[in-house]
């Protein structure tokens, strides 16, 4: 079905580094292939070659031969490829052409020039097969990341391609949505579709995949069967830079901290959007210096809660910090959020200016020391936009420390991070947590929670907060179904 012979590719902006190096690969019809490896290992590039964005959208140097269904990819046009190969991308924000869900489901079919009746029939089938009923007739911009990803899958499903290419589809999904994604993939596999998926999270694919291809520095380094991969010890996996394949094997033995003084007290929080109650919290106490993971299903109100705490959204609530009632505007001043899209929060010409921005009274020495501690000193004169994603995130965190904020909030900081990136982030959060009164982490990642959090807030009808002692980890295991 798909055959790579001696394929190499270099991005035009890649500074001469080959993203895929001499790849030979044969994927048979109906196979389920997982591409794994560290960030920047070339797995996304392989997906882009299969859906022909390389060489039709991303220029650069492609050598070797790629045959799909016996056809050389350089011959056909990219739009002909869409009927054979459906793509789901990593970033749910940027893969929608339409502004409402119905149009988006139809989009691929419309491009294939299917008649109207056929499109409607396919839409209906798709809605049923992927249980999208609740999401129909909505504006794309009011959906959560996970909901958007479901629509993206649906839109591809409606065009009924032979090959599915998915690039880190689970990045922004919660445990329930991942479960649904797994079910969709299982259905597709049963239908005999060929599936190629590039992913950091491996656990949900362990029962589905036929082969795991491990890439390292652009080279296809090793191949694993699911059994081989599962038999690897956690240490071996982390040496490869891979995330857990089996969640229940994770180290649940955490040094739980004792409850300290109460740092923040939230009372009678009620927030509604269009008559729908999003958040209803009677009382919540968060203790000092704790690292609190906020978990819950997509759409449970995690980001909304964070925005209320930061004073961006008005809600009926009384929030006390250190036993003093704090108004929304003051909360904005006291808090800092490391956003999912860090591009939005870097404003200056170089890294040093960036961390000086919120810290008018700090001396040069302190700032340089801070940069050194955060492993950013060699970048101090670089433009923040020229850094990699992980480095940008570090700059953003650094800026929050230099501004001496009380509340640090991380909004899904691990989406798109590989094992090493996540490990580094855990250390960073642990290291910096003492500087803040409160650390809140919105996350779907159990590995991150086990790596650095001390408490968990689970948002649901009756939100509960627990520290990660024996009982707490049991609840956590329950939530993540492992």
């Amino acid at each position: 079905m798909i055959k790579f012979t001696d394929v190499s590719y270099t991005y035009p902006t890649g500074n001469g580094i080959t993203s895929v190096n001499n790849l030979n690969l044969h994927i048979k019809k109906g196979e389920f292939i997982v591409l794994c490896g560290k960030s920047g290992c070339g797995k996304t590039t392989v997906t882009r070659i299969i859906n022909k964005l390389i060489p039709f959208f991303y220029e650069g140097e492609l050598t070797g031969e790629v045959l799909i269904n016996g056809q050389d990819i350089k011959e056909e046009n990219i739009s002909d490829m869409a009927s054979i190969c459906g793509s789901v991308f990593q970033n749910p924000k940027s893969q929608f052409f339409n502004m409402e869900t119905d149009g988006e489901l139809a989009f691929g079919c419309e491009n294939l020039q299917l008649p109207k009746e056929e499109i409607l029939a396919r839409m209906e089938r798709t809605v049923k097969a992927l249980s999208l009923e609740k999401l129909m007739n909505r504006s794309i911009f009011e959906l959560s990341g996970g909901e958007k990803q479901q629509i993206a899958c649906g839109s591809v499903y409606a065009t009924n391609p032979e090959i599915y290419v998915l690039d880190e589809p689970s990045s922004n999904l919660d445990i329930g949505a991942i479960e649904r994604l797994r079910n969709v993939l299982a259905t597709l596999k049963k239908q005999g579709k060929t599936i190629i998926i590039s992913e950091h999270r491996l656990y949900y694919l362990s029962e589905l995949a036929d082969r795991f291809l491990y890439f390292d520095n652009g080279k296809l380094d090793r191949e694993y069967t699911p059994l081989q991969l599962k038999s690897l010890q956690p240490q071996e996996l982390s040496n490869l830079g891979l995330r857990a394949i089996n969640l229940s094997k994770l180290d649940f033995d955490i040094n739980a901290i004792k409850e300290g003084e109460v740092a923040m007290n939230i009372r009678n929080l009620l927030y509604k959007r269009k008559d729908r109650t999003i958040l209803d919290i009677k009382e919540l106490e968060i203790s000092k210096n704790c690292i609190l993971a906020i978990i819950g299903k997509n759409g449970a109100g995690k980001t909304t809660l964070a925005e209320i705490l930061c004073g961006f959204i008005k809600a009926t609530v009384s929030i006390e910090i250190d036993n003093k009632l704090v108004k929304p505007k003051e909360r904005t001043i006291k808090s800092y959020m490391v956003m999912q899209d860090v591009n939005r929060q870097l404003f200056c010409e170089n890294v040093l200016e960036e961390i000086r921005l919120g810290a008018k009274n700090s001396g040069e020495e302190y700032l340089l020391g801070l940069l050194k501690e955060m492993d950013l000193l060699q970048f101090k004169d670089r433009h923040p936009a020229s850094l990699s994603g992980g480095q940008k995130q570090r700059v953003a965190i650094c800026a929050s420390i230099s501004a001496q904020k009380d509340i640090a909030i991380y909004d899904e900081p691990t989406s798109g991070l590989d094992y090493t990136g996540m490990q580094n982030l855990c250390e960073l959060i642990l290291k910096t947590s003492k500087n803040n009164l409160l650390n809140l982490i919105i996350t779907h990642d159990i590995e991150l929670i086990l790596g650095c959090c001390t408490h968990v807030l689970e948002l649901k009808n009756n939100p509960i907060i627990y520290s990660l002692d024996k009982e707490g980890t049991a609840l956590l295991k329950d939530f993540f179904a492992c």
Binding site: F57, N77, M99, G103, A106, E110, M339, F347
Partner: protein, 226 residues
């Protein structure tokens, strides 16, 4: 109230007429008539809230401009009058802009203009423009939040005393993240088969109905009036 879905072509004509008409009309009464017309269209197509807010602002501007022109005309009231006249001229244009771009589905828009054989090279950029506006809006929301965290939030004093610095704080991240989003968006659309060489189909019925001819007649009537 049930929503009326006007044809994108009729909406577009209203928009063009709005641009020509509002720039040329100097009397308050025809302006009010046209503003009312667009307001009714907005309410009918499911934008009663934002439509009415804009309409009331427009009416206030028109009335104030009229009062100032009639009763006082000193150097001191000139800037104020200019402001109100600008409001009277531009708000109906903005309203009709909202009418086109916020009440139309992209799929519908593309199908309607393919029907009258507009070239794809024109339609696709327009469709992308449709999609671009809410993106900017979304990014803007995120960036203004990020600015507030950094203590450089938008305040009157910062705009007044450090206009260039403030513009830079807004524009640098706004451009970099919008460019990023649009780049990925184009890649995603291409991979899903959007192509300028092919005619697309549409999952919605797109055709001109009586109501569309009716509003087009009214719009053209305003042009005649001028």
């Amino acid at each position: 109230m049930p929503k009326i879905n006007f044809d994108p072509r009729a909406k577009f004509l209203v928009f063009i007429v709005a641009c020509v008409f509002c720039m040329n009309v100097s009397e308050p009464l025809p302006a009010v008539a046209f503003g009312t017309f667009v307001w009714v269209l907005l309410v009918l197509s499911g934008k009663p809230r934002s439509g009415t807010i804009m309409y009331l602002t427009f009416m206030a501007c028109t009335v104030w401009a009229f009062l100032i022109i009639t009763f006082t005309s000193t150097v001191w009231t000139m800037p104020l009058m200019a402001l109100f006249v600008y409001g009277r001229i531009y708000i109906p244009m903005i309203m009709s802009f909202v009418f086109v771009f916020q009440t139309t589905k992209i799929s519908e828009f593309m199908a309607a203009f393919e029907k009258i054989h507009a070239p794809s090279a024109v339609i696709i950029p327009f469709a992308i423009f449709f999609r671009f506006m809410p993106t900017v809006q979304e990014e803007w929301k995120g960036i203004s939040q990020a600015m507030a965290f950094r203590g450089i939030g938008l305040k009157f004093s910062s705009i007044f005393f450090h206009p260039i610095q403030t513009a830079e704080y807004i524009l640098v991240p706004l451009l970099s993240s919008c460019v990023g989003v649009m780049d990925e968006l184009v890649a995603a659309s291409l991979a899903r088969g959007l192509d300028s060489d092919k005619k697309r189909t549409c999952f919605l019925e797109v055709s001109m109905k009586l109501q569309d001819y009716f509003i087009m007649m009214i719009a053209l009537g305003f042009l005649m009036l001028k």
